[in-house]
């Protein structure tokens, strides 16, 4: 007794899920060779479910359906893949099923007609899938410029092959129109409604899109093939020349100036940089010019010093730098001078307020400067006597001393 359909399907799906790692390995490596391990049993189970096919006594490969499915999923490009070959046969099948349906319908075999209707739906879905997946693969080849191969010759062969495949899709689409399936479905001599629904949704409504894509692909493949064929001699020449250069590193291009033949590339004008100036008499541009001028950085001053040959320039023309004293330095110096001449001790604060009230130095800082001048080891301060007038902090326990003034006089 044959197993029910859903059991077979469940078994197959379970086998795929349970042995997914083995399936992955076989798809990646291309085959599985029996090695006496536990995995041999897993391979056998997959073989029973027709997921692996036996290839000789000890080797298993993934079934072509599974490989095709994974190729679709991973978008792997194969060499010389057959994409549009099935389309013609599938269209024939659709036409035959249509005839079969009308025969069953007119003979009153309703069950047979229902069965054929279901098969017709599947046939339409198969054809639709052939077109969609085939076009998708062709687009992938076109977008990647046949990335699976590298040399120009190999690309040309791939291109020619896929151009033929795209042509087959185009022919298949034309034959769909030629068979007149849509006209038959709409003829009304039979109840084709179930078939028409399938055909319309799976094929008719997508035909325009397929036509556009195939026309685009044909154009691309033809153009690319033309370009590949045109560039092939150049590539060959380029590689020869590059190899020659590698072997003859000292090679220099010949002098071709005196040649009488002037090819187009030699006549090239390498170009100039046109410069234009603003018309300053034109008042309308003034505003823009002013704006531009305001954004320009100030020019750096460049002094050109002419040098006499055979002579080393000494400091004759060297600019002299004058060091300018700060105001408080000047004030300190004057204070020291006044203090040394004064007969009585001179108050630093009073003197500053009298002579330099606006030097920008606060009184506290001035007193600090005066105190520290004592340790400056400069002659003008070394002979002076300093006497600090201090006060203690307000708090009884404060140990802070505040300098209120410094009295200075000569020794």
């Amino acid at each position: 007794m044959s197993k029910p359909l859903h059991d077979l399907l469940s078994n197959a799906l379970n086998a795929i899920a349970a042995h997914r790692e083995l399936i992955h390995a076989v798809y990646s490596k291309g085959r599985y060779i029996k090695n006496g391990s536990k995995t041999d049993r897993d391979a056998y189970v997959l073989h029973q479910n027709r997921i692996l096919v036996s290839d000789g006594r000890d080797t298993y490969r993934l079934s072509s359906f599974m490989t095709k499915l994974f190729d679709e999923v991973t978008q792997i490009q194969r060499l010389f893949e057959l994409l549009g070959d099935n389309a013609g046969a599938q269209i024939n099948r659709i036409s035959q099923l249509l005839d079969e349906y009308s025969s069953a319908f007119f003979a009153g075999r309703i069950e047979d007609a229902d069965h054929v209707s279901a098969q017709f739906h599947d046939a339409c879905a198969d054809l639709s899938d052939t077109f969609s997946s085939g076009i998708s693969k062709l687009l992938n080849q076109a977008e990647t410029n046949f990335a699976v191969v590298s040399s120009i010759e190999a690309k040309s062969r791939q291109n020619a092959h896929y151009l033929r495949q795209a042509g087959r899709f185009s022919d298949a689409l034309e034959s769909l129109d030629r068979f007149g399936i849509e006209q038959q479905l709409g003829a009304g001599y039979c109840d084709f409604e179930p078939l028409a629904i399938s055909y319309r949704s799976l094929i008719s409504e997508r035909k325009a899109e397929w036509h556009t894509e195939i026309a685009r692909l044909l154009h691309f493949f033809e153009t690319y093939l033309y370009r590949l064929r045109a560039i092939a001699p150049d590539v060959k020449r380029f590689r020869q020349f590059a190899n020659f250069l590698q072997q003859n590193s000292g090679y220099e291009l010949p002098d071709l100036e005196e040649t009488h033949h002037h090819p187009l590339w030699m006549m090239r004008d390498a170009g100039i940089r046109p410069i234009a100036y603003s018309d300053l008499r034109d008042g309308t541009t003034h505003e823009y010019l002013r704006e531009i001028a305001s954004q320009l950085p100030s020019p750096a001053e460049i002094t050109v010093r002419e040098r006499v040959p055979g002579r080393i320039e000494r400091s004759v023309n060297k600019p002299t730098e004058t060091l300018k004293l700060q105001p408080h330095h000047v004030a300190l110096s004057r204070f020291a001078k006044d203090a040394s001449l004064s007969l009585t001790p001179l108050s630093a604060l009073s003197w500053k307020r009298q002579h330099f009230p606006d030097i920008g130095v606060p009184d506290e800082i001035w007193l600090l400067l005066v105190i520290h001048s004592k340790n400056s080891h400069r002659a003008e301060f070394s002979k002076l006597q300093y006497h600090r007038i201090e006060r203690r902090g307000v708090s009884r326990i404060s140990r802070n001393l505040f300098v209120r003034d410094v009295m200075v006089h000569g020794s």
């Binding site: 410029n145 590298s150 040399s151 120009i152 690309k155 370009r227 590949l228 045109a230 560039i231 150049d234 590539v235 020449r237 380029f238 590689r239 020869q240 020349f241 590059a242 020659f244 250069l245 590698q246 003859n248 090679y251 220099e252 291009l253 010949p254 071709l256 100036e257 040649t259 002037h262 090819p263 187009l264 590339w265 030699m266 006549m267 090239r268 004008d269 390498a270 170009g271 100039i272 940089r273 046109p274």
Partner: protein
């Protein structure tokens, strides 16, 4: 647009769909091309197409005394730059195996390229020597930086266009066809190269 086209051509640019898509479309219109040619005919120049028709560039309308010095200086520049540029494209072909790199519009991924060069010592050495040919290397330049410098140089020279700065993808411009034209001419005219080509055949026949 007319003005832009005029200036780009005057500056020596190769106008193609990769390098200058807007102005290329403008020049593809026959009426526009005619108006541009009318303008240049008045200053002794004309617009030429690269050998595979993918780009436009400016040429002298005639070979006279005035043009001779410009053509001479152009050829000197080619003499100085041609070999490093050829070496670069040859390195890319050797590294990626993709011969279609010599077709205008082809993309070069800098990251993929440097990844493959890193894995092969001979390619690394070749890149290093290419760097010195381009004067793009110094003692502390890394391989990646070196390649970046070379790419930058080729973008400046108009052979490449930085199509995607984030992913460092460059595209070959129509100037490659100009380069191939120069090689073809040298190949046909330089006797040294013909001797080089014939040598292997001679050796083979003597063996037979």
């Amino acid at each position: 647009m007319f003005e832009r086209v005029i200036f780009q051509l005057l500056e020596g640019a190769f106008i193609c769909r990769v390098s200058h898509p807007d102005t290329f479309d403008f020049l593809c219109d026959e009426n526009n091309l005619r108006s541009v040619e009318d303008f240049f005919s008045q200053i002794g120049r004309r617009v030429a197409k690269t050998s595979k028709q993918s780009g436009f560039y400016l040429v002298f309308a005639a070979y006279g005394e005035q043009e001779r010095s410009a053509i001479r200086s152009n050829y000197t520049e080619i003499k100085n730059n041609l070999i490093p540029v050829i070496s670069f494209f040859n390195l890319v072909i050797r590294t990626t195996g993709q011969e279609d790199i010599l077709m205008y519009g082809t993309a070069i991924e800098a990251d993929t390229l440097i990844g493959k060069i890193d894995q092969d010592i001979s390619l690394r050495n070749e890149l290093q020597s290419l760097g010195s040919r381009f004067k793009a290397s110094s003692s502390d330049t890394t391989q990646r930086k070196l390649l970046e410098n070379i790419f930058k140089r080729l973008v400046n020279d108009g052979y490449l266009k930085l199509a995607n700065p984030e992913r460092a993808i460059y595209q070959v411009t129509s100037k490659i066809e100009y380069l191939l034209d120069v090689i073809k001419f040298i190949h046909e005219t330089d006797e040294t190269l013909k001797v080089g080509d014939e040598q292997p055949e001679g050796e083979t026949s003597s063996l037979i």
